[in-house]
Subunit: 434 residues, 2 copies
């Protein structure tokens, strides 16, 4: 474990150690990995006093340095929160093993059999701000998926992270697993170096503000699982049911406005605007509404929205409202200003819903429900590693599946391609098995 | 269609047109897409004389400009080759539709149903050197997968590509499909601009030399499907069967030495080197062998291999040979110098084979067969879009599956997340359907 800044060379050495430890982790059975996770949970329980003491020291420093209040709240890890996090570690052991799943099983020819098998990615690089409890969740997900992990916590949480990682490594060791599978970096300079470790680190998972995620995306050639923006929309179609739609809008805006799956813009068909908007406004008493010209004709007291509003993630109790002429205009608006996260239509017209869900280019396209369902736990994945707004899979909320890849295993008995080419070429059988 | 260089603004406009055309393509049924592909085949047949005449003009220029012989061969598109390529277009129509596949179908709660559905990526950017026949294959794969495509062909094939794309667009129009789904760029400057079209182009597929693919990978933030290097290995274990292994080595080296799935390095266990290498050498009469010290003790007449040989893709009749002390040493060599493409073990020892296939970090890990099976057609995918050596899926030979992504569709009836949180939280059912 590194507690002072590692030089680039030291960092490469740490990464190589992690890779080696990950290779032996990759070879473990589901049972052995679950035993290791239980050993980690036990070691965390044994170290609970040390961990909460370390956290108190971090909190004192944070107070002295006037850390922003929400960050301070997330930094806090008392005995109750720790117990909850350790229960979360044990929950990970109960999840199905994502490794070893046979995705393709095909005879290419007699005695020549192809399998596509899920396998770990190798080494994860996880960079997070504040929240020391992320250390426990991520380490257990890494062990479960057979990956090594290099953690980079925030400076403000350094003592907490060190105490947690010390316990986690002790737990791994108790279970006979190479503790180098879990490593901790603690300085800001190391973030930059970690982002440059192509060839050693297979996936970067950033956890923090939008600006932070964007910084990570723009400064690495390693694949990044995450999203910078969450600009989600609710489109109120002309065939929307007013009361139902109002409830959805309320849930999607005020339940947790800083969530990435909260809505920022409400689009409303002009045929229903005069009826819907006056019903909506009283349901959102604490929300600042900003409307385009047509919305303000219906609700004259609200602020004017500008072009900038359409591409702003407020993460706050603010909602932009735009009146559109058609479903097609709503789709065009979303595909122009949206962040491809999650967008919903409220309508009783099935054909309109289907058109919306087909044409909106987003990880999640919803009909008559709140955008806030976009979440790995709510989808039933048992865990959420991140939410991706990229086009390529994994897309949307990503569970353990996002921490594995696959390899093709081909087993023959002296088979050569010359047999299957040229004049007397033998034909492949290409017969799917099992 | 652009025949002169497009400015960045023009290129953005072209990309926006392609995106719009792709959106309507994405909404077509399998039957409609297959009809469009048949219309493309018919239009290509109708334009056959124009296409071969354009190709002859390209060939004349190539001759006058002393184009390298292999490039000249690949540039050639005579009536026979064209007929074959048109048959290939019709084969694409026969493939299963990769769009619409329901990958997850799950009730989250009563009346709240989640589906994960395969959908097109959007717009593909395909950059290739020489080979005008690639235009036909890629355009038909794009239509089949519901994607628009911006093609950038080599300067030497400009007339051929223009004639081909003209016919393809005519075919699309005949079938009532927006011809802007297929676009052609022709100048080198446009390659650079195309690589910068993040937000308009969803996937770049480069087809050309290793250096060219590396250039593409290093100059875009758009995901790239391809591989720069193919440094494949055959490891001859101490329990290898000599004759079988010799046949595999021969097939993997001499069948098509410039293929990315040909072997560059042969690793041999020291316990079998003295027996195996003298059997191998006469089976590879035209191959230049380069050995390490121990290999040259057995075959004193061969050249010495240097450190550089281990990381060189010869793409030629050259084979590097290294004697290793153990299976673990072979795995370590491959994981250090390999390109994560395809690596094989020859052995009659099943446990050794399993260890090799688990520990070698490559898209393909083979036992007792030639590395040259690493190919989308041989795997039974019906098409090959590219071979990826990245860790994240799609990995290895990629068929039509690599041209689609997925989206989550969630349908409710006024469902909000507030119902499932807080004190009286309702539990999700998370019941998989159908």
């Amino acid at each position: 474990m590194t507690s002072v800044m590692a030089s680039d060379n030291q960092l490469t050495a740490i990464a190589a150690q992690t890779r080696e430890a990950a290779q032996s982790l990759a070879g473990l059975s589901s049972e052995a990995k679950n035993r290791a996770i239980e050993a980690v949970a036990l070691a965390l329980e044994a170290a609970a006093a040390d961990i909460t003491a370390a956290n108190e020291a971090d909190l004192e420093t944070a107070l002295a340095e006037n850390l922003a209040k929400p960050l301070y709240g997330r930094l806090k890890l008392d005995a109750v929160k720790l117990r909850g996090a350790i229960a979360g570690v044990r929950d990970v052991a109960k999840l199905p093993d994502p490794v070893g799943d046979v995705q393709i099983h095909r005879e290419l020819d007699e005695g020549l059999v192809l399998k596509r098998v899920a396998c770990p990615l190798g080494v994860l690089g996880v960079i997070f701000e504040s929240r020391p409890d992320a250390v426990m969740q991520i380490s257990s997900l890494a062990v479960k998926s057979g990956n090594g992990v290099i953690l980079k916590g925030g400076k403000e949480a350094v003592r907490s992270c060190q105490a947690l990682v010390k316990a986690i490594r002790q737990g791994l060791e108790n279970a006979g697993v190479d503790p180098n599978a879990v490593q901790l970096l603690t300085t800001r300079e190391e973030t930059r170096a970690l982002l440059g470790l192509e060839g050693y680190v297979d996936l970067i998972i950033p956890r923090g503000s939008n600006a932070f995620v964007r910084f990570v995306q723009e400064n690495t050639r390693i694949p990044v699982l995450g999203h910078a923006d969450g600009i989600c929309h609710l489109y109120v179609d002309q065939a929307a049911e007013i009361e139902k739609t109002t409830q959805i809008a309320r849930d999607a805006k005020v339940g947790y406005p800083s969530a990435c799956n909260a809505i920022e813009t409400l689009l409303v068909h002009r045929a229903i605007a005069a009826e819907f908007l006056p019903a909506l406004a009283p349901a959102l008493p604490d929300v600042e509404l900003r409307g385009d010209r047509q919305a303000r004709q219906v609700l004259p007291d609200i602020q004017a929205a500008t072009e900038e509003d359409w591409s702003t993630e407020y993460s706050d109790l603010i909602l932009a409202i735009r009146v559109v002429d058609s479903l097609a205009a709503a789709v065009a608006h979303i595909n122009t200003y949206g962040s491809r996260h999650t967008d919903a239509i409220a309508t009783e017209d099935l054909a309109a819903a289907e058109q919306f869900m087909a044409q909106v280019d987003a990880a999640g396209v919803y009909h008559n429900c709140s955008t806030r369902f976009a979440d790995g736990f709510r989808y039933g994945f048992g865990a959420e590693v991140g939410i991706s707004t990229q086009k390529m899979p994994p897309r949307g909320p990503v569970g353990l599946e996002g921490l594995v890849t696959y390899k093709y295993q081909l087993v023959g008995n002296g088979h050569v391609v010359a047999t299957y080419s040229g004049e007397n070429a033998k034909a492949f059988t290409h017969r799917d098995l099992g």
